[in-house]
Amino acid sequence: MADLAGVNGQREQFRVVGQRNLPGKLSYALATGVAKFGIDYVLPDMLHAKFLRSPYANARVKSVDIAKAKDIPGVADIVTWEDEDIKALNNFGESNDSRRPWLDNIADQEGAEVAVIVVAESEDICEEALRLLDVEWEVLPHVVNLLEGRKEDAPVIRPQVRDAPMFGAPSAGGPTNPPKRGNVAYANMTSGDMDAGFAAADHIIEYDLYMPAFASLLPNPSGSVAWWFDDPYYSEGGKSLHIEGAVKDKNAISMMYRLPPEKTVQEGLFMGGKYCDWGRRKSQEITPLLAKRTGRPVRCVNTREEMFDVIMKQRYIHLKVGFTDDGLITAVDDFSIADGGAWGSSSFGNVGDMTLGPYNTLKCHNINQHMEIVDSNRYLMYISGQHCPFNWDSITVALHMIAEKLGKDPIDIARLNLHGPTSKDDPDPVPSFEACVKKGKDLMNWNWHPSGTKKLPDGRYHGMSFRYQMCPRHSFSSYSCKLEFRDGEVHMPTQGPLFGVYAVECNAMVVAEELGLEYDDVKIDFDYREPFTPLGGGSDGTTASAWAMKECANILKKQILEAAIEYAENPPMPGAVSPQPGPFKGLTADDLDIIGGRVVLKSDPSQGVPIREAAFTSELLAITDFDSQGVPVREAAQKNLFATFYGHPPLSLWATGEMGKRLDTMNTAYCEVAVDIEMGEVEILRFGVAADPGKVMRPISLESQIDQVMFFSQGCQLLEDFVFDERTGVKLNNNMIEYKKPCILDVPRVDREFLETRAGNAAYGANGISHSLANTHLVIIAIHNAIGVWVDPPATPDKILKALGKA
């Protein structure tokens, strides 16, 4: 177990945490359709807004004549990029040295918002007005094929400088990053002695792998509704803003419009974002301005087609790996070409993940990484997308290839190369890995076979694969927690909105656990004014926020116990209608506990009082009634208590620069496929996951996350891809028919086994897991194991047949 500080010390017995079938606090609303997303807000007198969107992959609006559009009945406002209101807007997108205006006349993706916003009585009128704009376009060269875009003679598509990427600064002693050239920026990192590493190798393999761009789910089209109102509580200094469907954090809108946080209201609890979708669309940011200009509520919602913005970026990798006769890796030379993303986009997911990748789990010290980051017009969002979890597949493929070459089980090769818990020089693998492998092998009836050697009774070829990853520690976010003991009940005030992460349930479970209550006893008060929000990196954030809330719960617990003693020391005057204090006189809080909703003596838990009767004050007796003789009935007042905590869990390894060089909890994933070599069709027979999240807090959340992430993995490995018309740069499959997200009938069985080594750093030794199980090559390796040839993801039938020489 991890050595955890403070009241987060170990708990052996759990009543609430880890329980199955506890209802989600918002599930009812979601299941019944009551949940309101931004798209669902319809207000009286509401206007609608739409952006001009570029039909070109890279183009400049030279001029636009709005006269005809403005004359259409029902058009309320037309704003262009030259409008002072627009120029005054802040663009908080990451800049990478060339921050752009919030809206300008350059569209560097097909479908990008550009130059003009139309506001009208209906969306139809908006569309009609957009059609009547007289726009003079200057079509510019585009790059949607990274391999073409990196060439020296490729047209340079944007002036952005990326000489100093936000992540992935050169390592100490390593070569400096060369300056950007053409469309290509560079990031290099080196450790160890590459020459010595390859010299020590008995074998050297080189291979290419490709990670496709793909989208995550689109649960609800993004957009917002905003209106301004006179707030009687904050009447001075102008109107307050109400915005719905905007962002996961309304403060971003407050900042953008330079409002104090308390003057920005967002009450809705549902955002409808995508996986790791931290970016804000322009439709989510613009409505406050348009509402201010028109004096009416304004709604701006993206269509589903407009929501097809890439989350996971494309990457090409060439790996050269040296290893010994027994399979120990001695050197890794990694060259990759990555998509630079939208103009002004984050370099997260490009350079930074090199520092977080799989190589740190290897005993091998000799690692060389070169990356070319290529600007493209592939319609990426600002600040979204990451390949971090997927980056692990480069070494996963290596392990499989080494195993193939040496005729060994890839799990044995992984074990040989994995270092121990405290450093890369630890000779033995981390115990969590061994435990996961043991569970996983049982789960899968693991019986590895060389490629192309096993046929199923129906004639298809059988393949299997294995993959490991460490569970990430995202515990660098601090949380502002508050718990209230109010009128005898525990309340957990929480700010919405929530975007598909059911962290709030985990937090409530922890509070209940620590306060000796049942899950339902913790009342969650959703209130936009409250600071606490249990977000910050998926399940990693869940476990970290739960750690902070656990601290807070124990502070409240102490207050309740102290209040119970104080009440016992100062009982109400005789005759008052008041609960009797517990037998706590002369004791201290350390002598008490809360068990089963009662404050009790530790020494004799049968003695105590219900928690709701524990904290009263006799200082002031309130007249609550009159008896039949007219004598006032006096009652002792409930004592309300408030606990706060601000902080984050200790040992945030990723934040302290260790970047996975120390290992704690691990997870393993497995896949079995059947390949029809006549049709090129792959069926995933099942996924298996044996994972150690440290401590399972809310099983259904964890299972759902794993199901979801295996669904991602299936999609990107078998079906999903963005298809561009290279000549025009136009994306061809912005719909759910042509963009082939797996359907429910396609989704395979996912078997799961969990371990609880309690080795994480968050609440109860839990660790985040979420997307660490996402991968781009687990299925691909299984396919290779089945048919003996490599197929780039997505392994669609055409590619399978081509690899087999049948197409």
Partner: protein, 779 residues
């Protein structure tokens, strides 16, 4: 979605009446149309949507008189769940069940499933982003774009390709290119001669508007159509006895053609081809008109023209040279002696420009006709040529090659809009000719009764605001070009002096012979006209087209059969998957600029293999989207008929490539019923669909088979229409269904596939599906 009106109808007749009024679309389940409207993919947005679902009595499944009858509005889910269909018409039940998803099957109807719009991501891209061939545009973007889901059995022509459209003769260029790629030069020859009887001539002198229209110009280099045409044209001339055959039968009609230029020769050819006795009258010694006398030999060798005339003679055309109509024979006489007369006398007359000293200049055409004599004593002189057309360039180049010291060419038009072809202008400049665009003629500089130069004035624009020829000048900007010789190659005129005052023939407003637009018929019965005499100076290929038109008009006048039209209609379009990857166009081998002569051709005809290679660059623009219907192949395998409000069609007749639809139905034609004959005892059918996902996806390949009687095999999603695999049916005839025979049928089914590289995988899937469907049905 754009606004539209929506109306319910109670009868099919009511719907048809509304639909016949235009700008209306019919909807049944709406699962296809409403999505298309929402995404705005149709080339023309309907003003009205007519809802058929309110027509009672069109959703039924019943067996009558040995025929299964299904109302067109029957929902797919009802068909999939019907026990009779499942048992006896299994393929249809399976196909209906394979469509999309349960929700769509609950909404979609059988009639609607057959009538879907093309399923192509270029066609379906919202906001009409790609004005593709199937929408009336010029390109199939899938041809050079992403075509992984497209046809493996070629495309279909949705309408004329831009090269053909831009060709005044309407030559089926992609059609004869496809035949060349197939190695059938004779068929290619016959195809091109359907529109143009002298490709050896046009290959050399045509402005080739087709070049700039070629869709490849959008991405790399347009196909060098003229180069291919030249190889084929020479092949035709080299084998003239094979291609210029006397007609199989004589009509007994006689025709006189006056003039032997391109229009006259063309008219003579097509008239003779139709079986008429044709006599050509021409005032010059040799036949060929402008081709023979005005176009220099370095561009068009005289021998080519002589051989064309000889070939026509071989067909039975009689040439009466040195016979001037109006002088040697009167028009009235021609009318009396011949059943029809066609005037194609050209435009040979010198115009009067109206500048001082004009009489000291030489008319360009006279120069070309008498070129060698004219140059006597002028070697080493400075020459100015005026005019911007091909004749002017010919004059200039000829003068330079014959020894002029310097040649300057001045014209009204700005450089980019000179009528001469870009190739000719480039040739002139390569040989040292100075081009002076945007200059008009002011006056001849005269000294001692001789021309010593030309004063030019700046031409601001040759056209007025309406685009009419009406030169605008800046008279403050003038320049003098000092030369001794001035050759006027501007605006030849039509000479109609051969028509006597008594011979009444209506002229048009330009003073040319007025003819009917469609027939070339002049105002007198039996009299036709063609070429420059009807249009003013124009192109050679325009003259050929005109000649064909007049011949056709005369045919109709004679009540004879019109000659066959474009034989390519309905053909499956093919292309060379490797050839289209070749970005660089064929180039002619040309002699060095310094070694060029007036009497020898500058360039060589490409070898046949070179021409075939260039033909393989042709995209054969059509539509390569596949028919998306899952039920269509099942119905084809079951031998269904379609009953509309107008007719009864075989299922395979229903499908056609149209803009933007997939059926041959008229705008006011509505599918009412689908009829399937009861299967013979022992007959079984099956349908299989291969898609990337188990639900919602359209087929990558589908296959329906019927076995036990006469085998029928139909593939879906592999061609623009459902594809009957006749080869597979032949392979199966009379055989038991076994692993081996089913596999052999699969192989036979995909014979003749011509896939895009990215769609090649479909072949493997198609043959596997055929095998598996046969085995499933055979169980």
């Amino acid at each position: 979605m754009k606004p539209f009106q929506h109306t319910d109808v109670r009868t099919v007749a009511q719907a048809a009446k509304i639909l016949g009024g235009g700008r209306a679309r019919v909807t049944a389940g709406g699962t296809d149309l409403l999505g298309a409207l929402k995404d705005d993919v149709l080339p023309e947005y309907p003003e009205l949507v007519v809802n058929l679902k309110t027509v009672p009595g069109l959703d039924y499944i019943r067996e009558e008189d040995g025929i299964l009858k299904i109302g067109a509005l029957t929902r797919l889910s009802d068909i999939a769940g019907n026990l009779t269909i499942q048992e006896k018409y299994t393929a249809l039940a399976q196909a209906a069940h394979a469509v999309a998803s349960p929700h769509i099957r609950d909404m979609g109807t059988l009639g609607g499933n057959l009538s879907q719009f093309p399923r192509c991501w270029y066609f379906r891209k919202p906001d009409n982003r790609f004005n593709c061939n199937r929408k009336g545009g010029d390109e199939c973007f899938a041809l050079t774009g992403d075509n992984r889901f497209h046809s493996i059995f070629g495309g279909k022509k949705a309408h004329l390709t831009p090269c053909t459209r831009e060709c005044p003769a309407g030559t089926d260029i992609p059609g004869y290119f496809a035949l060349l790629r197939a190695g059938d030069w004779d068929a290619a020859a016959r195809r091109i001669m359907e529109m143009n009887p002298m490709p050896a001539v046009t290959a050399r002198v045509c402005a080739h508007f087709c070049h700039s229209a070629c869709n490849r110009c959008q991405s790399d280099e347009g196909v060098f159509i003229g180069g291919v045409e030249r190889a084929l044209g020479d092949y035709i001339l080299d084998n003239s006895d094979k291609f210029y055959l006397p007609p199989a039968r004589e009509t007994g009609k006689s025709a006189a053609v006056v003039g032997s230029g391109p229009a006259g020769l063309s008219a003579a050819y097509f008239l003779r081809l139709a079986g008429h006795a044709v006599t050509v009258f021409d005032g010059k010694e040799d036949a060929g008109g402008m081709l023979r006398y005005a176009i220099p030999a370095y561009r068009l060798p005289k021998d080519i023209v002589r051989r064309v005339a000889a070939a026509l003679t071989g067909m039975g055309v009689v040439f009466r040279q040195n016979t001037r109509v109006g002088a040697d024979i009167a028009p009235e006489r021609l009318e009396m002696e011949y059943d029809g007369v066609c005037y194609a006398t050209g435009a040979w007359k010198r115009p009067v420009v109206g500048i001082a000293g004009e009489e000291l200049t030489t008319f360009g055409l006279d120069f070309l006709v008498e070129v060698n004599q004219w140059m006597d004593g002028k070697v080493g002189a400075d020459v100015l040529v005026t005019g911007g057309g091909n004749v002017a360039v010919d004059v200039a180049v000829t003068a330079k090659r014959l020894g002029a010291k310097s040649v300057t060419l001045a014209c009204l038009e700005p450089r980019g809009r000179m009528p001469a072809s870009a190739e000719e202008i480039a040739r002139a400049e390569a040989e040292g000719i100075v081009i002076m665009p945007s200059w008009g003629l002011s006056r001849v500089v005269e000294e001692d009764g001789a021309a010593r130069g030309m004063e030019l004035k700046r031409c601001v624009s040759p056209w007025d605001d309406n685009g009419a020829f009406n030169p605008q000048y800046d008279v403050n900007e003038k320049i003098v070009v000092r030369v001794e010789n001035i050759l006027m190659a501007v605006g030849q005129r039509v000479d109609l002096s051969f028509l006597s005052e008594k011979y009444l023939l209506e002229l048009n407003r330009r003073g040319l012979i007025g003819v009917a637009e469609n027939s070339g018929a002049a105002s007198r019965a039996g009299v036709f006209a063609a070429g420059d005499v009807t249009t003013g100076p124009a192109t050679v290929v325009g003259g050929i087209a005109n000649g064909r038109r007049a011949a056709r008009g005369m045919n109709i006048y004679f009540s004879a059969d019109a000659e066959p039209g474009n034989s390519s209609i309905g053909e499956r379009l093919t292309f060379d998957a490797e050839g289209i990857q070749n970005k660089a166009a064929l180039k002619l081998r040309e002699s060095d600029a310094g070694k060029r002569r007036v009497d020898l051709e500058d360039s060589e005809t490409p070898a046949r293999d070179e021409a075939a290679r260039e033909a393989s660059r042709c995209l054969n623009c059509g539509c390569y989207a596949v028919n998306p219907s899952d039920t269509a192949p099942a119905l084809a395998a079951l031998g269904a008929h379609i009953v509309t409000n107008k007719r009864v069609l075989g299922i395979e007749e229903l499908f056609e490539v149209r803009t933007p639809g997939n059926t041959c139905l008229d705008a006011d034609e509505i599918i009412m019923e689908i009829q399937i004959p009861a299967p013979l005892p022992g007959t079984r059918s099956a349908f299989m669909k291969f898609a990337f996902r188990k639900s919602i996806d359209f087929s990558v390949v589908s296959c329906a088979v019927s076995v036990g009687g006469k085998p029928r095999v139909c593939l879906g999603a592999v061609a623009p229409i459902p594809y009957r695999a006749v080869g597979a049916e032949t392979a199966l005839a009379g055989k038991e269904i076994t692993e081996e025979t089913a596999a052999a049928a699969g192989e036979a089914a995909v014979e003749g596939a011509v896939p895009f590289e990215a769609a090649r995988y479909k072949i493997q899937i198609a043959k596997t599906l055929v095998k598996r469907a046969l085995l499933a049905a055979g169980k």
